[in-house]
Point group: C2
Chain length 402, copies 2
Amino acid sequence: MKRIAILGSTGSIGRSTLSVAESYPDRFQIVALAAGSNVDAAFEQARRWRPRVLSMAAEKDADRLRSRLKIEGLAATEVVHGSAGTVQVATHPEVDFVVSAIVGVAGLEATYEAVKAGKALGLANKECLVAAGELITTEARKQGKPLLPIDSEHNAVHQCLRGGRVEEVDRIWLTASGGPFLNTPASKFAEITVEEALNHPTWKMGRRITIDSATLMNKGFEVIEACRLFHIPPAKVEVIVHPQSTIHSMVEFVDGSILAQFSVTDMRLPILYALTYPERIPSDMRFAVSDLRHLDFCPPDLKKFPCLSLAYEAVEAGGAKTVALNAADEVAVAAFLEGTIGFNDIPRIIETVLDATESGKLESIAEVLAADAEARRSAHERVAGSGRSARKVGRPKATSFA
Amino acid sequence: MKRIAILGSTGSIGRSTLSVAESYPDRFQIVALAAGSNVDAAFEQARRWRPRVLSMAAEKDADRLRSRLKIEGLAATEVVHGSAGTVQVATHPEVDFVVSAIVGVAGLEATYEAVKAGKALGLANKECLVAAGELITTEARKQGKPLLPIDSEHNAVHQCLRGGRVEEVDRIWLTASGGPFLNTPASKFAEITVEEALNHPTWKMGRRITIDSATLMNKGFEVIEACRLFHIPPAKVEVIVHPQSTIHSMVEFVDGSILAQFSVTDMRLPILYALTYPERIPSDMRFAVSDLRHLDFCPPDLKKFPCLSLAYEAVEAGGAKTVALNAADEVAVAAFLEGTIGFNDIPRIIETVLDATESGKLESIAEVLAADAEARRSAHERVAGSGRSARKVGRPKATSFA
């Protein structure tokens, strides 16, 4: 029986994890949950799973949940809140395995504490590797505990890597769907609307990650994650466009053999893999191999998608640069979604923030969070100075990138 | 330093093995060679590699080689001959690893003796698994020594299997190029010429294996080999047509993950893999992943290619049936190549031989060879009774399959 904590239990990955646990009641026990602000969802999860502890983001939500649970006679679940509450969930002594799936930097501290407490980790939170990857992977190595990626690409790489040792890897090939603008000419990029950008061809995802897929920044983040997760230099991580997203990623070994992984596009599969590794257990998530017909590939167009190059630059420099890349992207994407800036402004803003960021190793989560805050401030400033609203009042666009 | 014996050193796999050894002089030492009847080639190999022992098939060729080596001052290589000579090569006390690449049943005894002597084995000889697979794999398990497949499909499966345990395998998917008649309508099969059948789209190979690829019997043999090599029932081995032959094979695990292996189509790659397993060492056999564009797949047409179904039938029954399948195919293909029978007669002859063969486990190589001789006799009889030559003298075709 594996005893599980989920950071981000009411989000998409959290709910998928619970769905996996539901399918294998003899294998998994849900011990601790950290939810966000959805009290109704948290209440249902508490009723179904009876965790030892459940944390809400805000104190008032924790209070509401506690009252409702008391009324239902479910007071055995301790309700806590805030970042201290999340850490309590992540480090609960009865927990073996922590699923880290809080979106954004909010999950960093608790994830780091989980690793320090010797928990095995399933990682779905991008920031854990993009912003704090050096800290977290170093600590996991020290603890001798596995870091198992819960996203289709890195999970695929993890599976392919079983075919050899990390020192025998020549290249990691991350596949990219290419997003909705794979075949859109560069000349039309400036006019891309929010609606067009939210229309991802393969995956149904949250709004930020969908835009990140449209700019290929998401693939850039994945390059950084791969470097940190597998201790591979950026020069050994490549991206190849594969519009069907059937093959989730590939590993090329030094002898010339390449292993590729594919499966249905269902997040429960990498979750199941992470929860049961090194075992594999039967699932109903079957890919109909006999229906396989065509797989297409092409190289990515770095001119159309400068975000990908920015990610390589950031990870080459390391430390604060990757923190800034993520923070600036989050701010820029939010501004694009609000209609404040255009599609092409996203990489422009990120680039200027990146250029203004000093590289250098970050020694603690506090330093990561400080670098993150600074990059956000800087990005907001540039959004304000370069956006459509600014242009509307007549400021020339060029000056904001001087 | 791995010390190697090659059974079939002057054949295609033998020469490729020596080419691999040539590229890594610090890793591999050639200790013993078994050649066929090509004295010139054997002489050059003896001069280049200075093996302890070299065996020729015939005594007169051994005598000629011995004289030539003596003249050149290379008498340190002991020259032997015949099946006893081949066994001496296969069981040489200084040998760690035996590459079994003699075509046909001639290599069976020596390969079995190598396994019994505790050698690690690289298997390129189809008959070792199709005809004597149960004996050889059982012995290898007993010895605790690896059996490493030296052919692109099973080598690919071996690599993919590193991603899990054999008990976690749901399906092995062997890819098939589909051969030259993938898109030929069944109605034209009776008129297929030898020249057309020898024109394989992907691989340059010997004449028999090229015809076996055209009938898909080669894929049928590979199904049998996979069952024996990986201890998997026939129901778990599937064939999928993949005309580019880029992906060499795939393994589907019970959790729904599929691993696929691809590489350049160069036999030196599986040889290198087998010789260095579990290590991987750098090679110049690079697949240009960034040039990857399209991969196509479709299910095999069992009506057009009945040989594939015959192979499943034979392996389900086991024992003497797979021996008969191989023997009857060899005789039928030879008859087709001589123009004695038509393309569609190949599966017909095999089927009648198979039907006439009792199933039952074979307990020794001698029993395998006896079953092989009996099946050949039976196949020759049917060729004589059903061939074009027979039809030319007016015998009705139907009677020969009564």
